[in-house]
């Protein structure tokens, strides 16, 4: 169809043209302009062949983030559950509705709450937009966590994707920060006190510096809190800071990391896939360098030997465009059998998933209104003041030791998870859930152990208290070091080392440690959401809360 473009420039016609002919030509040009415009923009019609389909993907700025052909395995629902795509769709929804809300929102303590009411009652579909924004934000946090779990359990953090895992962790933290900064903006009681609690968590290093007696000249907790709030209390300064972070800084940073994240997926060989569904990954272009970096000498060859029929060793030729393009590209003729063209297979899958996500969020937004409590009132504390749900697990730990719960343990967990790919370098069963039956057993056992130990220690603490109840004069440093949070952390570490030793596999150890964190996070979050009442006391149900 590309020859169309030269149609109107045939020299014969141009030469014979008279004045009226030129006008006629103008007329016909005008009539064919919509078609011409479409063709110049899209450059191809409906792809009828693989080649055309590949070209369609390759030539489109939006689609070319996908490979032209995609491994059939990647399209299985069970491979990813589409969590990455869902997260991205939610992010897009958040950006779009966020921009719409920005038009009406006024970031000042005097007007913020009222502008929320305006959005709710007066702005056409404002309430709907806000609901979409709110539920998308919560859904995104959930989706990110699940996406992370998926990546971990399918060992997708391994091998060439180690750095992308780190990027993913950064994106996870950014998502939490975006959600948290957005939490304050409605300026209602819920927002105000949740953020107050959040800022107290940020201030928690002071507990350690206090215990060490160095707060007077090294008040890192106070510094973080003041940086965050711009004042000693949540107020006008904090609101404008959170607003700027929420609408400009964090989204931009997020976008940059997102781009890197996607780029790395392509460059690291697409989605992690088990060996039986194709060549393990791809062929290393610069074998030596890559191997040195990834520490997997001969991995590709080994894997190729595993999956290829005996004797049918494929060529080393790949579809790399230029020698200078580093990274992995599908190997010629070996992987073709396991791939399908991205168009239409992946495109439709992604489109359908996106639309479904959109639909679910729309339903949520239609059925449930985003909460908006009373106007923020610094004089009337919410009791219990609870942080957003994803920080409630931390808040539970903070109730034992501010520093450990607020800074120590989360830092250890995030750093630990970032380090996992560099500690666990076993190259096996990438793309397989739980790395097979043994891993499944380890995860199950670990989940059981974690449930028992977390529930046990919670029950113990509620019934018998902790060190302070037994030794009232115990130094705070002791409690900072030994509290239910650190005890659990130590237990998890010990368990993971034991698993590593028992199975003689770092992968199993990694599975154990991740399962520990995930299950503990889930239980603590659930516990703090449901069973914690006024003054962070334990109550079986909301109806037992003391009326005050």
């Amino acid at each position: 169809m590309q020859h169309n473009e030269s149609d109107s420039q045939r020299p014969g016609e141009a030469g014979q043209a008279v004045a009226s002919g030129a006008l006629r030509e103008l007329w016909t040009n005008l009539l064919s302009t919509p078609q011409q415009f479409f063709e110049s923009a899209v450059r191809h019609g409906r792809p009828t062949s693989d080649r055309a389909a590949s070209q369609a993907v390759f030539n489109n700025v939006f689609l070319h983030i996908l490979p032209t052909r995609i491994n059939r395995h990647a399209l299985h629902v069970r491979t990813t559950f589409g969590l990455g795509v869902i997260t991205l769709v939610l992010f897009f929804l958040l950006v779009v509705t966020g921009v719409a809300l920005m038009v009406y929102y006024k970031p000042s303590t005097a007007q913020a709450y009222d502008s929320m009411k305006e959005i709710h009652y007066i702005v056409p579909t404002g309430r709907f937009m806000r609901n979409i924004h709110r539920w998308s934000a919560h859904a995104m946090v959930l989706a990110v966590i699940l996406h992370m779990a998926r990546a971990f359990y399918t060992a997708a953090y391994k091998g060439p994707r180690r750095f992308n895992w780190v990027i993913g962790m950064i994106l996870f933290v950014l998502t939490l920060m975006l959600s948290f900064t957005g939490y304050l903006l409605p300026w209602d009681q819920l927002a105000y006190w949740a953020v107050t609690i959040g800022s107290e968590i940020a201030e928690s290093p002071r507990e350690l510096t206090d215990a060490l007696g160095v707060t007077s000249w090294f008040d890192i907790g106070g510094l973080i809190k003041r940086l965050m709030l711009g004042a000693n209390q949540v107020g006008e300064e904090a609101l404008i800071r959170f607003y700027v972070l929420h609408v400009v800084v964090l989204p931009v940073v997020m976008c940059i990391f997102l781009v890197v994240h996607f780029w790395r997926i392509r460059k690291d060989g697409g989605l992690a896939k088990p060996p039986e569904s194709g060549p393990p990954e791809s062929t290393d272009h610069e074998s030596g360098q890559q191997s040195a970096e990834s520490g997997e000498p001969g991995a590709a060859a080994q894997a190729a030997a595993l999956e290829s029929p005996p004797g049918a060793v494929g060529s080393a030729k790949t579809y790399g465009l230029m020698a200078v393009v580093r990274g992995r590209t599908p190997a010629v003729d070996r992987s073709m059998a396991h791939t399908v063209p991205t168009w239409p297979n992946a495109i439709y899958a992604i489109a359908a998933l996106s639309m479904m996500t959109f639909f679910v969020i729309l339903c949520l937004a239609h059925c449930f209104d985003a909460p908006l409590k009373e106007h923020a009132n610094p004089a009337v504390p919410e009791n219990p003041a609870k942080a957003p749900w994803y920080f409630l697990g931390l808040q539970e730990l903070v109730s034992y030791s501010a520093f450990m719960g607020g800074v120590g343990i989360p830092t250890i967990v995030v750093l630990g998870l970032m380090l996992v790919p560099y500690l666990d370098r076993e190259k096996e069963n990438s793309g397989v859930w739980f790395s097979g039956r043994r891993g499944r057993r380890v995860c199950l056992l670990t989940a059981l152990m974690t449930t028992c130990s977390v529930v046990g220690i919670l029950a113990f603490t509620i019934n018998f208290g902790w060190l302070r109840s037994w030794f009232p004069n115990i130094p705070q440093l002791m409690i900072t070091l030994v509290n239910p949070g650190t005890v659990l952390l130590a237990l998890f570490m010990g368990w993971s080392f034991a698993v590593t030793k028992q199975t003689n596999s770092t992968r199993m150890g990694a599975l154990a440690v991740f399962t520990c964190f995930l299950v503990a996070f889930a239980i603590l979050t659930y516990f703090a959401t449901v069973y914690r009442g006024p003054n962070w006391g334990f109550y079986w149900s909301h109806s037992d809360w003391p009326v005050h």
Binding site: S49, D50, R51, A53, L75, A110, D114, K117, E118, H120, Y121, I122, P124, T125, F128, D188, Q189, V340, P341, P344, N345, Y348, A349, A351, A352, M355, M356, F358, F359, L362, C363, H366, L372, K373, E374, N377, V380, V547, H548
Partner: protein, 790 residues
Amino acid sequence: MMDRPRTYRVGWLKVVLLLSSVASFGMLLLAAYQENFTAEWRTHQQEFAHVLSVKATAANETSAPAGASVKASDYPIEIRQAFLPEWDKVDRCITCHVGIDNPAMQDQPQPLTAHPGDILQHHSADRYGCTICHQGQGRATDKEAAHGRVPFWDEPLLTGDFIQSTCTQCHHDEEVPQAPVLNRGRQLLSELGCVGCHKTGETLAAEKVGPQLDSVGSKVTRKWLHKWLADPGKYLPEHKMPQYPLPSGAIDGLAAFLMTARDDKIDNAPQPKGDYDTGADIYRESQCIVCHVTKLDYADNPVGGHIGPSLMKIGNKINQKWLVAFFQNPHSFLPHTKMPGYHFSKKEAINLSQFAIEEWTDYDLQDAEAEEPALPTGTPQQIALGKRLFAELDCAGCHELKGSPAKRDAPELTFIGSTPVHQLTFGDAKVPRTTPDFLYTKLKSPRSLHHKFELHPGEDPVDAIWENLRPKSLFSASQSLPDGAEGERLAWLLEQAKKAGVLEKQLALPSGTTAKQAHWLVWALNEVGALNPLKMPDFQPSDQDTEALAIALMSLSEVGAPSKRFDAPRRSKTVFDPKDEFGKLERHYRCLSCHKIRSSGELLASDLTYEGNRVNREWLYHYLNQPYSMRRMLTIAMPIFHFPDEESRLMSEYMANVFVDSDLGAAWKRNRDKADAGRGKTLFQAKGCMACHQVNGTGGDVGPSLTTQVPEFPHGTWVGDKLKGEWVYAWLENPQAILPDTIEPNLGLSDQEILDLTAFVLSLKNPQFQKKNNGDDKNNGDNNNGQVKK
């Protein structure tokens, strides 16, 4: 070209894509539809437009045949709002209540109806919006949210008379004429003595609501005091003092303490002995019944006024010696009383006290009391305990007693109306969680809004019970908790409670574990309310009074007008208190207890503000000497004070010259020549005046008779002897301008009609009075030039 790839997924993926896209699009359409078509307020406005067009068509048919009809479609359907930047309010109430300022909508149902009354004429919806007065959530556009009956909105729509509680945001005056219930509540707040214990941000009046107690020991009998403290309602059903839930030990202590407040002069005086019949005459002349309940009618209903306390049983209560001293100089005992100072000689006082004690004694009660054992005088411990209790209960909030200052440490009420609901203690009460409900319930039965005391695991039950036993003075000050086994300590606690009269003497701890015993003790103490730390007594107000009080408390709000522009002008509240001779007389006779003068005083009798315009000086002079009732059916009149002649002359002259407004009825002075009494007489018939006023024995009994004939006062005055033309003229012109509550209708008479009627009214003179008056004094009523010949 390669083989066409197997598109095994794409088929169902396409279906999923199509379905979810259609569904999403449907959701968006639904949202758009709901937003643009089904909003509640749209239907209201459409209905309003319809009503408008129907009304317009109807009006056109009757009045203007060719007039343009109003089309319903011309009425814009849109959000309507009042924007009040100073108040930081946007009130969209008028989006649904569209007809609120359209008088034609009065017959429409809510939400289209017009605002009742004329409030909007002075508070236009543009300037004041709606939520300043009504509360609710002005920004919201659906009914429940706008009315504020949703979670997380602390100011739900005020209902009924509670709307009056917001008047005070701009109207800071004591009186807001349009808010009678609020005014009543504020009056009750001070009358009941709430401000004696609670701070309300208002300046404290000098007078306390209860009587001064400095000589109470000489005034009342010990038995009466005991009974009164235990249950005031038993002595006086309409008692003002609330009942405190006090155990017998506390009552013994308080009574012992109060009986020490004595006046030696009274104690040492000889026992008076007077004459009952003479006393009865003094009682009748003094018109005690105007202020006091002094008898019961055939159905045992109290008869008499309620300004002073009922006198029905004072013989059982009061020491006659004190009464004699009191009659001679009531103001030295009760400086702020409304009781006038009479000119009683000692003999008269003794006679009157004799009558009072004999007339108002419940002899059955007296006989019963005589059989009861005499009460011992208080021990020093009891007196000390009483003093502590007097302070703990803050009795000094209502009663002046030397050496016992008021603490006023009850919870402050200055901003109670704007306290967030969740900061109010509802306890276990099953009432809606709103501020009005809280206040209402608290006032109606204070103790219902409280958690029952419970033992908590981990605390020592004996300590916990000991700490919470009330009243505290009865327990903690003299004894301290002994050490020992828990069972023994519990038994000791029970013993203390019995000793204090909190628990009955025959009670004993049940057998069983100490835990069981402790729970029993808590139960028993809870039953008698001894573990409730609330000090507030039960005032047992009526439903109406409770609501009025709750409204007055609701009005104590932190919210106020944001700018001076909204402050209603403070009406300068002049207190009539001249420092001249008349003022001295007023303070002695307490005229303001019954009369109003320049917005001071009460309206039990006439308003004297324009007395100089109203009546002739001669008439006034005679009236002061010998008052009588203007109405046939009323026998109650002004007491006969036996004013010394110079005092009645001074008062009549003072009122004739000072209580004058020269503008009042000025038209009469200008045009009296044009008046014709004959025409006036015809008008009197034509306007139906005789429906209410009698002339020569015919006519109604609603208004005062115009030709009063009182057998005791044959020289009694008729209206022409009494009133001045200028006043009659002004009164007929607009009665409500002079006396807002009067039921004399404003008939809308023309100037000429008023002149004629006035002339007719003034022509009604009693020949006998004229004769007598002319004998005394040459001055004729209406030509009075203000001089009294001596």
